[in-house]
Point group: C2
């Protein structure tokens, strides 16, 4: 089963040639979620052969430009492609008005419905449920209201053991029930335990996106035990004061957060443009949390 | 003397990997003008080693996203660089409100003054005069209000013929007057004609930016006799109907415009994303106006 994260941009406020501002695509089976949409996201999608028309859901963490300035261009292009499927944008209050003003200025009436779902600052909220996943928002601690997002893969039906179908002469009409956990009763009244009939269900996987934020332990419970945690690491720890003043985190803090959250794996990003090479940030994080990787533009990660 | 045009983006509404949306930089001596500012302009400046802090004047033709979506990111970066010099944006009504809303959403109070100068739909208007150039706006004919811009280099003082200074014993205090056209009167009352004392002044050069527009001959007078004319060429002429419906022009029309305007040179751009290779557009234009070149991202043109 595919649970795949593509980094479209891992930079911070001032983009560099190698690093676009924040944007990520999470793919759960055939479902695509766009997480943040910094300037240039459209082009990054093209470079990664990700088709904008596959998306129905966009999540915007906060209204600093490096996290949403690519949105209007993307929505405009979907309009020019004559999209008809509705688009859902989960975002902070205020974005709807900006997009409305931009649509008015360009005298554009979109070919599709655009629905805004405003995030609320009240702990963990289930904001979306599809066949593939549940999505939760939770508040970060940044200079302006900011949210993180947690994507929880839904449990899938178990797989049948083919030989048992023949052995117990199980009719096709019972298969769905069994895959969802039911036992089977034979014509003779014999109860066959579900465990004997099926392979164990695969564990569901979770991805948690935390950007931008000051280091804040009150956020840890929302990321508890996730398989992959993205946590911003704008600075190295020698610039802890700058990080704190700007409501950002250091690589060491991101790693500490990951360790305390008991995440399985950490991916750091949102690097300040002062860092050409980010090996020092990665090494710093690994001193605290060994299973850390560094985001880079166009990196693809299979979440296992 | 440097009069240099750098194409940062020559694409149209839907960007491609090879073509960013519209943005150009005109350099007149040490003065930099930014003309339109599509998404990704900041990065294109970096790629072309053009420093955003050199700019004091930005010209936005109209409020379709592909002509201004890079502006807020650029202004934000200048803020992060702690700019203090005022910035002047010449733009259609409506942009000021969009930027104001974006600043409010990001809780940003810029480190520098930002002045908006709204364009008016009343023929040719002198909108800026610097030591180096005069800038005029004039209305285009597009689906929404849209303007073209004409940049007229200012005439520079003539150069003195050094040997004449010695021959007539010209005092230093008189040199500026002579370079600006005065004759010289010797101690004996002899009048020496200016022509004998100076080299002829270099001719002033003009650049005219016409994008986006339907083919409209009423615009031609504003571009009369310019040294370099940029005219949008979204489509080839076999798509004349599509071009007309969308208030765009074909390459043939751009060339016809250039011929009738008696421009010295034409540069075409704003190509539809349907054209991978634009040789056909260039060849089409050259059938009508031989001195045509094709814009491409990162192309630099010296205007002579």
């Amino acid at each position: 089963m595919s649970l795949k994260l593509t980094i479209l941009g891992c930079g911070s406020a001032t983009p560099t040639i190698d690093r676009n501002p924040t944007a990520q695509v999470l793919q759960v089976l055939e479902r695509f979620f766009l997480i943040d949409c910094g300037e240039g996201t459209q082009l990054q999608m093209r470079r990664n052969k990700i088709r904008p028309r596959h998306f129905n859901h966009i999540f915007i963490s906060h209204l600093h430009g490096d996290h949403y300035l690519g949105l209007f261009g993307l929505l405009s292009s979907l309009h020019l492609y004559s999209r008809t499927k509705p688009m859902h944008v989960f975002c902070p209050p205020g974005l709807k008005e900006i997009i409305a003003l931009q649509l008015k200025a360009s005298d554009t009436r979109l070919t599709y419905e655009l629905h805004f779902h405003e995030l609320v600052e009240k702990g963990e909220q289930l904001i979306l449920e599809t066949n593939e996943a549940e999505v939760y928002s939770f508040p970060m601690n940044h200079r302006i209201p900011c949210w993180g997002f947690k994507f929880v893969e839904k449990s899938r039906p178990k797989s049948m053991r083919g030989e048992k179908i023949r052995e117990y002469n199980i009719p096709f009409s019972k298969v769905d029930d069994i895959r969802n956990g039911s036992d089977f009763v034979t014509e003779d009244g014999l109860i066959i335990q579900n465990n004997e009939l099926t392979f164990p269900a695969k564990e569901t996987r979770t991805y948690c996106f935390c950007s931008d934020t000051i280091y804040d332990e009150s956020i840890i419970p929302f990321a508890k035990g996730v398989d992959l945690l993205y946590h911003e690491s704008t600075f190295a720890h020698d610039l802890i004061e700058k990080a704190t003043n700007r409501f950002h985190s250091t690589a060491l803090q991101a790693a500490t957060f990951a360790r305390k959250a008991e995440a399985k794996k950490l991916i750091i990003g949102h690097y300040s443009s002062r860092y050409g090479d980010i090996t020092s940030l990665l090494n710093e994080a690994r001193t605290v949390f060994a299973n850390t990787i560094a985001a880079s533009d166009n990196l693809v990660i299979e979440i296992s």
